[in-house]
Symmetry: C2
Subunit: 111 residues, 2 copies
DNA sequence: AATAATTAACGTAAAAATACGTCAATAAAA
DNA sequence: TTTTATTGACGTATTTTTACGTTAATTATT
C-alpha cells in the first residue's frame, strides 16, 4: 500500500518542504509577483492576468493562504489579497540559511 | 480536459518552479543535507538513513539529478552521489533575488 | 425587494507524484 | 567462472495536484 511518508521526517524539513511546495507552480510564483507589484487585488483580477480560469486561480490563492504567504481581507463582495510580508521574510531567511548551511558543510567538496 | 498549463507562464517562473518542486519533499531535502554532510555516498547508504525503501530513494535521487542539484559518479557497482555546488549556488542566488525583488516591490505594503 | 457582482465550496476528470517490489544488467569478489 | 553486491529500469497501486464548471452564499447596486 502507498501511504504518505512525509511525516516520518524531521519537523523542520517537513515545514520547509511545504513552503517550497507552495512555490513549486509557476502560477503561484506569478501570483506572488503580481501581488508584490500591485499592493492589493481581487482574485478575479488576478485570473485576468494569468492563463488560467478564475476557479483554478482561486485554488492557488487558497494554497498560498494556507501556508501563510498571502492573506485575504474581505471587503464587501470582494477579497483583497496581499502578501504576508512577515512570512515572506521568514521564508526568505529559511531558504537563505538552508543554503548557507548546505554550502558550509560542503567545504569538503567532492572534486 | 485537463492539460498542463505550466508552459503558459514566463520561462523564468517555470524554471524557478521546477527547482522549488525539487525541494518540495522532505526526503529530497534530507538527501541534500545528508550529501552536504558526508561528501559522497551511494544511494543504498542514503536509504539506510531515510525511512523509505531503496527504490523510492533512488527515484528522489533521480529527480534531484534531473534538475542538476546533485550529480552521480559511477564507481564500479556503486554510484557516488554528491552535490552540484555550482547549481546549488545558482539556486541560492535565484531564491535570494526572487525574494529581494518581491520585498522591494512591496514597499507600498498593504497594512 | 430584485438584480448584479463576486467569491468560496463542491464535485469531478485527468495528470503527476509517491512508494515500492521485481527484474535485468553490470561490476567486484570468491 | 560463479556468486555477491549494487543500481537503474519497469510496472503498478495509491494519493495528491491541477484544472475547471457549476452552484450557493453574500454583499452591492438598482
Amino acid at each position: 500500500m502507498v501511504t504518505a511518508k512525509t511525516e516520518l521526517f524531521e519537523k523542520e524539513l517537513q515545514e520547509a518542504a511545504l513552503l517550497f511546495k507552495a512555490l513549486s507552480h509557476p502560477a503561484r510564483l506569478a501570483i506572488i509577483k503580481h501581488l508584490a507589484e500591485t499592493k492589493t487585488c481581487i482574485s478575479g483580477n488576478i485570473s485576468d492576468e494569468l492563463p488560467l480560469s478564475r476557479t483554478t486561480v482561486n485554488q492557488h490563492l487558497a494554497e498560498l493562504k494556507k501556508v501563510g504567504l498571502i492573506q485575504g481581507e474581505i471587503e464587501g463582495t470582494r477579497v483583497n489579497y496581499c502578501l504576508n510580508i512577515e512570512n515572506i521574510n521568514a521564508l526568505h531567511k529559511l531558504t537563505y540559511f538552508f543554503f548557507k548551511e548546505v554550502q558550509a558543510r560542503d567545504k569538503k567538496h567532492c572534486k
